[in-house]
C-alpha cells in the first residue's frame, strides 16, 4: 500500500490482526477439542494442546515418499499462506483493514479455492489409493460448498451494496438493527458450509483415521513433521476464518473502528466471547450428530446451496 500518515494506524491494525490470528487460531481448535472432551466425559488435554502438537511436529524430521514431487513440498506453505491471508482480511477486531481493498469477498472465496486446489493436487501426488480418494471427495464436497458460500456472501453484499468485507460489516453495524429474512436463509446455508469446509461432522470427521470415512485426513495422510504442522495450523486458521466470517456477517456488533485504540480492548473481549460461544456450539453440534454417508453429503450441501440461492432470491423479491 502507498503509505501516508493517515494510513499508519490502519496498517498497524492490519499487522496486529495478522499476528493475532496466526497466534490465536490453534487456541480455538484447542477450545473446540476441549469442549468435545467435556461433552464425552473425558478430562481432555487442555486448550493449549494444539501448540504442543505443533511444536512437536516442527521438531521432527520431515519424511516424504520417494516419488513426491516439488508440488508436494510447496503445498503446505501455499496452504498456510492462503489461510493466514484469508483470516487476516476478514474484519475481526476492526473495520477497514487496508489489505481488504486488495481482496474482496469474491477473492476471499478464491483464496480458499486456491488452497483447496493445491492440497487436493498434493494428495494425488504420491499416488496412493487414499490420497486420490481424499482429493476426489474434497472436490466433491467443495463444488457445492463453494458456490453456496459465494451466494451467502452475495446476499450480504447486496444488502450492503459492496463486496468489500469492511464495508459489509460497517453497513451491518452502523445502521439500526433490522432483521433481514434473506440473511436468515444465508445464515443457515453458511452453517452447513462451515461444517463441510472445515471437515466437521456430519460431512467429515476430524478425529477419524478410519479408511472409508475420511476426507481431509485422507488427503494429508502422507504429510509429516513441519509439513503436517503447517497444514494442521492452516486448518486451525481456516476454522478461525470461517468463524470470523460468520461473526462478521451475522453478529458484527462491538467491532472497533479504524484508529480507535480505545475501542480495541472491548472489541477483543467481545470477539473472544463470541468465539468461545461459537466453539462450544460447534462441539455440542458435533456431539449430537452422526456422520453421514459420503453420498448423502451432496444432498446435504445441495440443501445449503439452494438455501443460499433462496436467500438471494428473497433479497431480490423483498429488497430486504
Amino acid at each position: 500500500m502507498m503509505l501516508n500518515m493517515t494510513q499508519v494506524p490502519a496498517v498497524l491494525f492490519q499487522l496486529t490482526q495478522l499476528l493475532l490470528v496466526v497466534l490465536a487460531a490453534p487456541l480455538l481448535t484447542g477450545w473446540v477439542n476441549q469442549c468435545q472432551a467435556w461433552l464425552q466425559n473425558r478430562s481432555g488435554a487442555g486448550i493449549l494442546q494444539p501448540y504442543r502438537v505443533l511444536h512437536k511436529l516442527f521438531l521432527k524430521d520431515a519424511v516424504i515418499a520417494y516419488n513426491a514431487s516439488w508440488l508436494f513440498r510447496i503445498t503446505p506453505y501455499i496452504v498456510f499462506g492462503c489461510m493466514w491471508l484469508a483470516a487476516a482480511i476478514i474484519p475481526i477486531i476492526a473495520v477497514d483493514l487496508p489489505f481488504s481493498r486488495a481482496a474482496d469477498v469474491i477473492a476471499l472465496v478464491g483464496v480458499f479455492a486456491l488452497a483447496r486446489m493445491f492440497i487436493a493436487l498434493a494428495a494425488m501426488d504420491i499416488g496412493t489409493a487414499f490420497g486420490t480418494l481424499g482429493a476426489r471427495r474434497e472436490m466433491l464436497v467443495s463444488f457445492l460448498a463453494e458456490p453456496a458460500l459465494l451466494m451467502v456472501l452475495f446476499t450480504a453484499s447486496m444488502i450492503s451494496h459492496s463486496t468489500q468485507l469492511p464495508r459489509i460489516v460497517a453497513a451491518f453495524t452502523q445502521q439500526q438493527f433490522m432483521l433481514y429474512p434473506s440473511l436468515a436463509f444465508a445464515a443457515l446455508a453458511f452453517l452447513i458450509v462451515l461444517l463441510a469446509e472445515n471437515a466437521r461432522i456430519p460431512v467429515d470427521n476430524p478425529s477419524t483415521h478410519l479408511e472409508l470415512t475420511m476426507i481431509h485426513e485422507a488427503m494429508i495422510l502422507e504429510y509429516s513433521a513441519r509439513h503436517l504442522a503447517l497444514i494442521e495450523w492452516a486448518a486451525s486458521l481456516k476454522l478461525f476464518a470461517y468463524f470470523s466470517i460468520g461473526i462478521a456477517l451475522f453478529f458484527p456488533y462491538g467491532i472497533a473502528e479504524v484508529g480507535h485504540w480505545s475501542g480495541l480492548p472491548l472489541a477483543i473481549f467481545l470477539l473472544l466471547l463470541k468465539l468461545l460461544l461459537a466453539g462450544a456450539g460447534l462441539a455440542l453440534f458435533e456431539a449430537l450428530t452422526a456422520k453421514m454417508r459420503i453420498f448423502r453429503a451432496p444432498e446435504f450441501l445441495g440443501t445449503a446451496f439452494l438455501l443460499a440461492v433462496l436467500g438471494l432470491l428473497i433479497h431480490f423479491l423483498l429488497r430486504a
Binding site: F80, G81, M139, M151
Partner: protein, 666 residues
C-alpha cells in the same frame, strides 16, 4: 506516406498466405519449414497483435481492395472491436506457432508442406473474418477458415474416426454458414446488391420482426461455430482429432471469431436490440456452461475433456453477452460496459489458457502416445517443464487468484452483484439464479481441472509409456512459456487490459468502464466503496507470507528431510492401479447428475474370474435431437429420390406435365 493499422494488418494476412505457399513449395525440406517458416509466422503474429493494440486506440480505418467480383469489391475495416480480436489472434497464435515449430518436426515432408499451407491459410482466414466489412468478403473468409480448419482436423485422415469427426465438423460449420448468410440477407433488407456492405446494413433500419429474425439467424449460425448448445456436438469430436496446435487455435481463437460475429451483428450491424435477445443468450449460455463442465468431468480422453471445457467457457461468454444486451436495452449502460468488459476479458483469457492446455496435451501425446488419461500418471517427474507450465494454465482456467481467469470471473460476478433494479421483475429474478449457476460451474471447473492435472501429471505412472516419457523440446517450451506468461500478465495487470477494452465498449455501447481508483494496481470497476481487487498486492501478500513462513520454520527449527516409501495408512501392497483413473475421479459427478447422461455400463459379476468393467457416458442430445433429424432427412431424401430414376423419358414427362399444368393455370 502514412501507414495505418489496416495496412499492416492486410500485410500480415498477405505474409501468412505467402508463408503458407512457401511451405508447400519447400515440402522437400521439412527442416526449413519447422525452423524457419513457423517461427517467422509466429513473428508475424506478434506484429498482428501489436497492430491490434494500436488499432484499439486509433480511429477506424476503411479500405477497399481491388479484389472480388466486378462491381463487388472487398471492403476492409479495422475498428477497436476488430482490433481487440486481432490482438487476441496475434497473441495466442504467436505462442501456438512457436510451439508448432517444434511439434511438427516429426512429420513427413509432403504432409508437412500441405499442413503448413493450411495452417497459415487458417490464420489468414481468421484475420480476414475480423477485418471484413462486407457480407461477401466475410463469407469468403469464413469459408476459408472453415475449410482450412477442416483439412487440418483431418490431417490423420487414414483413421476412420478422424474422418467421421471431420465430416461432422464440416456439416455443422456449413449449416451455420448458411444461417449467417441468410442473416446477412435479411439485414441487407432487399436493397439489392449495393447494400451488401456492413456500412449499408448499419444504416438499414430494419423493423422489429426482421431485426429479430436477423439476430436469431446470426445467433444460430455463430452459435454453431462456437459450440453453443445444442450445436456443440462437433467440438468434442473435432478437437481431439486435430493435431494439438490446431486444436489450440480452433479452441482458443476460432471459437472467438464466432463470439466476434455475435457482437458485431448484435451491437454494430443491428441498430437496436430487444430485451429478449439478452434473456435468450443468457439462458442458452447458462445451459451450455453447465452442460459443458458436467461432461468435462466424466471424460477420460484429455483432449475431449478440454473440448467440453471450451463449451463451458463459450457458455460463460454467451452469458456475458446476454447480460450486456439486457442491461443495454434497459439503459443501464455502466453495467452493460461492465459485462461487456468481462466478456471480452474472458475471451482473451480463454484464448491464452486453453491454447496453453491444448498444446500441452500435444507434448504429452508425443511423449506417451496416449490420449487416455487413465494410462498416464507421474508425468511431473519426466516432463517437469510441461508440468510446471500446465499448472499455470490449470490454475488460470479454474479461476484462481491472482491469475487471469479469476479477473474475468470477478468482473462477471460484479456485473451480477450490481444489477438489481431491472424494470422487468422476471429478468430481475433470473439474475441471482444465473449468478448461482455461474458460481456452480466455476466450482465444477476446478473439480475438472484437479482431475485433469492430478490424473495426468501426479501419482505413479499407470503405464510403461508414461514412465519413459520425455520432456518437450525447446520450441515447444518457448511457445508454452509465452502462453503461460500471458496468463500471469493478464492476471496481474487488469487495469491496463480494462483500459484497452474500454475502446471497444465506447464503440459498441457508447460508454466505458470507469476505473474509480487512480492507481493501476487497483481494479475498481464502479466505485472504490463497492468493489476493488488488486492482484499485485494479493500476489505479494501470498508470496510474502509464504517466504516468511519458510524462513521462520527453517531458521527456528530445521530443514531436515528424509525419503521413505509411502505410508498409505500402513497398507503394505500398493500399486499404480490403486489410484483413481479419470473415470474413477469423475464417478461422483456421473452419479449426482445421472439423469443428464446416457450411461451404458457393464459390471462384472462378483464371481467373475476375469472381471471386465465398461462404462460410457454419452450425450442424450445426440439421441434426442441429432439422430431424429438424421432419420427425417433420410426419409425426406428418400421421398425426393422417388422422382429420380435416371431415365431421360421420365424427366421429359415431368417437363411435359409441368408445362401442361402451367398452361392450365396461367
Amino acid at each position: 506516406m502514412n501507414i495505418l493499422p489496416i495496412d499492416v494488418a492486410s500485410g500480415v494476412i498477405l505474409l501468412w498466405i505467402v508463408l503458407g505457399l512457401l511451405g508447400l513449395a519447400l515440402q522437400r525440406s521439412p527442416r526449413v519449414i519447422c525452423s524457419v517458416i513457423f517461427p517467422f509466422g509466429a513473428l508475424v503474429s506478434l506484429l498482428l497483435a501489436a497492430t491490434g493494440l494500436w488499432a484499439l486506440s486509433a480511429t477506424p480505418d476503411i479500405a477497399v481492395l481491388p479484389l472480388g467480383l466486378p462491381d463487388l469489391p472487398f471492403h476492409l475495416r479495422l475498428d477497436p472491436l476488430s482490433g481487440f480480436f486481432l490482438a487476441l489472434l496475434g497473441g495466442a497464435s504467436f505462442g501456438v506457432s512457436l510451439y508448432a515449430a517444434g511439434y511438427f518436426k516429426a512429420m513427413a515432408g509432403e504432409v508437412l508442406g500441405l499442413l503448413c499451407l493450411e495452417y497459415h491459410l487458417f490464420l489468414a482466414g481468421m484475420a480476414l473474418v475480423l477485418l471484413a466489412d462486407d457480407a461477401y468478403l466475410f463469407m469468403v473468409a469464413w469459408e476459408t477458415m472453415a475449410l482450412s480448419s477442416y483439412f487440418l482436423v483431418t490431417t490423420d485422415h487414414k483413421i476412420p474416426d478422424i474422418r467421421r469427426a471431420g465430416y461432422l465438423y464440416l456439416l455443422i460449420a456449413h449449416v451455420g454458414a448458411i444461417a449467417i448468410l441468410l442473416s446477412f440477407g435479411v439485414m441487407q433488407g432487399g436493397h439489392g446488391v449495393a447494400a451488401y456492405t456492413f456500412d449499408a446494413m448499419r444504416h438499414a433500419h430494419l423493423s422489429g420482426f426482421w431485426s429479430s429474425t436477423a439476430f436469431l439467424l446470426a445467433l444460430f449460425g455463430f452459435g454453431a461455430k462456437a459450440g453453443v448448445l445444442p450445436m456443440h456436438v462437433w467440438l468434442p469430436e473435432a478437437h481431439p482429432a486435430a493435431p494439438s496446435p490446431v486444436s489450440a487455435l480452433m479452441s482458443g481463437v476460432m471459437l472467438k471469431t464466432a463470439i466476434y460475429g455475435i457482437l458485431r451483428v448484435t451491437f454494430d450491424l443491428l441498430h437496436a436490440q430487444v430485451w429478449w435477445w439478452g434473456v435468450l443468450m443468457l439462458t442458452l449460455g447458462l445451459l451450455t456452461a453447465v452442460f459443458g463442465v458436467m461432461f468435462a468431468a466424466v471424460q477420460g480422453d484429455m483432449k475431449r475433456l478440454l473440448a467440453y471445457s471450451s463449451i463451458e467457457n463459450i457458455g460463460l461468454l454467451l452469458v456475458g453477452i446476454g447480460l450486456t444486451v439486457t442491461f443495454h436495452v434497459y439503459g443501464k449502460d455502466a453495467l452493460a460496459a461492465l459485462s461487456l468488459t468481462a466478456t471480452l476479458y474472458h475471451s482473451l483469457n480463454h484464448a491464452c489458457f486453453k491454447s496453453l492446455l491444448f498444446v500441452g496435451t500435444g507434448s504429452i501425446l508425443h511423449a506417451t502416445g496416449e490420449r487416455n488419461m487413465g494410462r498416464m500418471g507421474g508425468l511431473i517427474h519426466s516432463m517437469p517443464w510441461v508440468a510446471a507450465l500446465m499448472l499455470v494454465g490449470v490454475l488460470a482456467i479454474s479461476g484462481m487468484p491472482p491469475l487471469n481467469g479469476f479477473v474475468s470471473e470477478w468482473l462477471l460476478l460484479q456485473a451480477f452483484l450490481l444489477s438489481p433494479g431491472l424494470p422487468n421483475s422476471y429478468i430481475d429474478m433470473l439474475v441471482p439464479v444465473a449468478a448461482a449457476v455461474i458460481a456452480l460451474s466455476a466450482a465444477l471447473a476446478a473439480y475438472v481441472m484437479v482431475k485433469f492435472y492430478g490424473v495426468i501429471f501426479l501419482g505413479q505412472p499407470r503405464g510403461n509409456a508414461s514412465a519413459k516419457a520425455h520432456d518437450a523440446g525447446l520450441w515447444e517450451r518457448a511457445g508454452m512459456s509465452w502462453l503461460a506468461l500471458l496468463c500471469v500478465l493478464l492476471g496481474l495487470a487488469p487495469v491496463f487490459v480494462v483500459q484497452q477494452i474500454n475502446h471497444v465498449s465506447q464503440l459498441l455501447l457508447g460508454t466505458q468502464l470507469a476505473n474509480a481508483a487512480p492507481s493501476w494496481m487497483l481494479l475498481t470497476p464502479v466505485d472504490t466503496e463497492r468493489a476493488s481487487y488488486s492482484p499485485v498486492y494479493f500476489l505479494l501478500a501470498v508470496l510474502g507470507v509464504m517466504l516468511a513462513t519458510v524462513w521462520v520454520v527453517h531458521r527456528y527449527y530445521h530443514g531436515r528431510l528424509r525419503s521413505a516409501p509411502a505410508w498409505d495408512c500402513g497398507f503394505p501392497a500398493q500399486n499404480a492401479r490403486m489410484q483413481d483413473t479419470a473415470e474413477g475421479f469423475g464417478q461422483p459427478i456421473r452419479r449426482i447428475f445421472e439423469p443428464f447422461f446416457k450411461i451404458e455400463s457393464e459390471l462384472p459379476s462378483p464371481f467373475d474370474v476375469n472381471p471386465k468393467y465398461q462404462g460410457r457416458s454419452e450425450d442424450r442430445l445426440w439421441y434426442l435431437l441429432y439422430l431424429p433429424v438424421r432419420r427425417m432427412t433420410e426419409k425426406l431424401s428418400g421421398w425426393v429420390s422417388l422422382l429420380q430414376h435416371g431415365h431421360i423419358h421420365l424427366y421429359l414427362t415431368y417437363t411435359f406435365v409441368t408445362l401442361v399444368v402451367l398452361l392450365i393455370f396461367v
